[in-house]
């Protein structure tokens, strides 16, 4: 019987106000890759920081944590002893690559430091050399140069690799990764995960991988722990848990994660805990495309790809609509001059968008997918006349909006509304829900406004009694409902959503997506929906445009693009977005 590398026994963590972890126990053997999943706030990070001995001073922990080969209990071991263990025997990679590195120190030095601290390399110079090797090991291009870079000069994925290099430097027995890829693009995420998997397998390191994304676990881990409200509610091989979850929470979690499986009414499975259910009547109105005399004829959208854009190529107009499209964008470019550079540096020009042309037909559900920084938000802002294009034209509902004055946009403003990503940031914390939702209304008296707000809140599934509350008194999903209510109160014809579900827990994401789908039908909206998650787009949209580096590279019916991606970037994107079924198949025992 081998001794496990990490053995946690009856770990309890409490703050002066509440118990946070209620006695959790688990083992990890050498070479074993264990995933830890659970909703936000379930105690995943606390578990990992307890092991590292880095709990905040205000918290107290009891129980035992033992590490193979270490005679002491980590919870009671003196700080000196822990300092010796951290970075050698056990190492940790944190979630936020943007802030986890010292911004004022070269990354090479930061990697080298972990060796000089523990004297695992004889001298500074050796440590530096080894740091470069490590950076090569985590597949940083040009490792010698990268070692001399400051963190801000690296991308998020690259920084996360640096963190990983640091963690692996002294060949730890145990590697803890706390949401190492949440901040990264799907494509980058896949690479980093693969790297972690490979590294630990090669060295027989025990791995604890924390995430809220079940797909990530399926990708890397053999075993999975499911955490719920400070307790481990399920512990088993990934394949078994994915296909036959035992605990009700796990069952719901897995159901809600699956965007490709719908119930008999075409709705996603949700965790059954909405505050107020939506009145079922409005739900299953059959989907119908809004048509009137002048409306565009929607042809089945044709597939188009930018393989490579040579100068002089005729611009491709994606999703071209004959007649009067709801949105028509031609040769749109947006450049930014980035300020706040150095004191003596010229402001560099950043291309947000380059020569984008496309149409959206009335009633269409148009998805836009692409990685971070590809220009999605820029496009959304321009469509809502919140930003002006550098060149090109944008017509929305027949009105040219590029360069239009605010006065001319008055009508446009009530016709086009937007829903944002951040459920907290998109609601003014100082305003009452009533005022937030009523904000877009104009020339409406108070009583009528109140009545309309109430009706709108009902429509998004919230009780009227929430009107006098402030945004912080709501959960993320509820907040997003409020945002949607605000966007719809003027009865717009076009709804633009920028990453409207990206910040939500899996469990709530499905609810909001269902709601959106319903409302688009009910109000006969033209929907432009931006996401970096192809799965979400696939569920919600009939047409998708893939955007990369400021250009649309591919556009067509969602299912087509998903099933047979043409552009290499799209292919990469699709392969990085596993579906639930595929996961289950892949990890099946």
């Amino acid at each position: 019987m081998t001794v496990p590398t990490l053995s946690v026994n009856d770990l309890r963590v409490a703050s002066p106000f509440a118990d946070l972890l209620h006695g959790i126990s688990f083992d990890i053997s050498a070479g074993e890759r264990v995933g830890l999943i659970g909703e936000s706030g379930s105690g995943k990070s606390l578990t990992a920081t307890s092991v590292m001995g880095l709990l905040p001073e205000t918290l107290t922990a009891t129980g035992t944590i033992r590490l193979n080969g270490v005679d002491a209990d980590l919870l009671t071991a003196p700080e000196r002893r822990l300092n010796q263990l951290r970075g050698t025997t056990m190492a940790m990679v944190f979630q936020e690559p943007m802030t986890a590195l010292n911004p004022l120190m070269r990354v090479g030095t930061q990697v080298a430091e972990i060796m000089t601290v523990h004297h695992t390399e004889t001298g500074r110079r050796q440590a530096r050399q080894r740091a470069v090797e490590l950076l090569a090991l985590v597949k940083l291009p040009n490792p010698a140069e990268a070692a001399l870079a400051f963190p801000h000069q690296l991308s998020g994925g690259q920084r996360q690799r640096v963190m990983l290099a640091m963690a692996m430097a002294n060949d730890p027995l145990l590697l803890l990764c706390d949401e190492p890829t949440t901040a990264l693009d799907v494509t980058v995420q896949a690479e980093v995960l693969k790297l972690i998997g490979n590294l630990v397998t090669e060295r027989g390191t025990a791995l604890l991988l924390i995430t809220h994304d079940i797909a990530v676990v399926a990708e890397v881990c053999q075993r999975v722990l499911v955490m719920y409200r400070g307790e481990i509610v399920e512990d088993g091989p990934v394949g078994r848990v994915l296909t036959a979850p035992q605990h009700p929470y796990t069952q719901k979690l897995i159901a809600a994660s699956d965007l490709s499986s719908v119930d008999d009414r075409g709705r996603l499975h949700t965790m059954s805990m909405p505050v107020v259910g939506r009145p079922p009547a409005a739900v299953s109105a059959p989907r119908q495309i809004h048509t009137d005399a002048a409306a565009a004829v929607i042809r089945p959208p044709h597939r188009a790809v930018h393989q490579r854009l040579e100068p002089g190529d005729p611009p491709v107009i994606f999703n071209e609509v004959t007649g009067a499209p709801a949105i028509s964008v031609r040769d749109l470019s947006r450049q930014y001059r980035r300020r706040g550079g150095g004191l003596f540096a010229t402001a560099p020009i950043v291309h947000g968008l380059r020569d984008v042309s496309f149409d959206v037909a009335e009633g269409q559900r148009f998805g836009i997918v692409g990685e971070s920084g590809s220009g999605k938000s820029t496009l959304m802002r321009i469509l809502c006349a919140l930003d002006q294009p550098t060149t090109g034209t944008v017509d929305v509902l027949g009105q040219p909006i590029a360069g239009a004055s605010e006065r001319h946009l008055r009508d446009f403003r009530s016709q086009v509304q937007i829903v944002f990503q951040d459920p907290m940031g998109s609601l003014d914390p100082r305003m009452k829900v009533r005022d937030i939702v009523a904000e877009p209304l104009r020339n409406v008296n108070r009583a009528e406004a109140l009545a309309r707000v109430e009706a709108q809140l009902n429509a998004v599934g919230l009780d009227a009694d929430v009107m006098n509350r402030h945004p912080h008194q709501f959960s993320g999903g509820q907040r997003q409902r409020i945002s949607i209510a605000r966007a719809l109160i003027t009865r717009p014809r076009v709804l633009v959503a920028d990453e409207a579900v990206s910040a939500l827990d899996v469990s709530v994401r499905a609810q909001v997506l269902n709601l959106l789908a319903d409302l688009v039908d009910e109000y006969q909206l033209t929907l432009v929906f931006v996401s970096h998650d192809l799965g979400v787009i696939r569920h919600l949209c009939d047409t998708v445009a893939v955007i990369s580096d400021g250009r649309i590279v591919e556009c067509g019916p969602t299912a087509d693009v998903y099933d047979s991606p043409l552009h290499p970037y799209t292919r990469q994107l699709v392969s990085a977005t596993p579906s639930m079924h595929e996961l289950a198949r892949r990890v099946a025992p």
């Binding site: 703050s15 403003r413 907290m424 940031g425 998109s426 100082r430 912080h472």
Partner: protein, 286 residues
Amino acid sequence: MTAIKPRTPTRRAAGHSGRATLWAGLVLIGLVVLAAVVSAFWTPFDPEGVFSDSILRPPGAEHLLGTDSFGRDVFSSILRGAQISLLVGTVAVGIAAVLGVPFGIVAGMNPGRLDQFMMRGNDISLAFPALLLAIIFGAIFGAGTVTAMVALGIGTAPAFALIARSGTMQIMSREYVQAARASGKSGLFIGMRHILPNISGMLIVQASVSFGIAVLAEAALSYLGLGTPPPTPSWGRMLQDAQGYLFIEPLLIVWPGIAIAIAVLGFNLLGDGLRDRFDPRMQVNR
């Protein structure tokens, strides 16, 4: 991604020491306010008269803190002096806020040329510190409480403008501002309804700290003869008067010194306490 959980134990725990600070500050300020209010209706003796027959009495039963060189009851003067300190602080901070905050908000809401231009202007006003203004204004308009308050106010305004601007820039990047713009709201509306309320926290912190600074500055100005003229009792003037009696009646310098320290300490503690409350990091649980 940072998850936002405003009502978590984390915040309460972090705010705990902040709360003690806050309360300590409020108690001290309460003392000063109490003195100011009470002295408006009653003081043991007239703090502005001259009593040739009771000059420089030591502290005792009749005169709690003794009398000064004019025979005035020091305790009465200290009580009445609270009025000037509060007045100077309030008016100076008020002027600074009224000038600086709209300036900062407008600059913050219009990134680019206008912002650059306004900030250069702000740099220039920063280069005229309050004390310099007080000296110049004192020469132009005559020294006195009003001049001192105006100079302190104008001198503090750039700091408010900077705070308001950086706060505004933060808020401007929030999506609810974008949402308001998308609903066609005017800049004025956004400034008043969204930005001002949301930066009020940091402004209050700044105001509280500036208040303390103003009380200290008034004392310094009085020392230079640019502050409140006699016989109106002000703590700074009392210090200035008392320094000539340092060897004869050292306590005379102690009392106004303590009074100033209490007021400044109060506002600083309040500022610290409020900062803990308003600090966005405290509200974000990472």
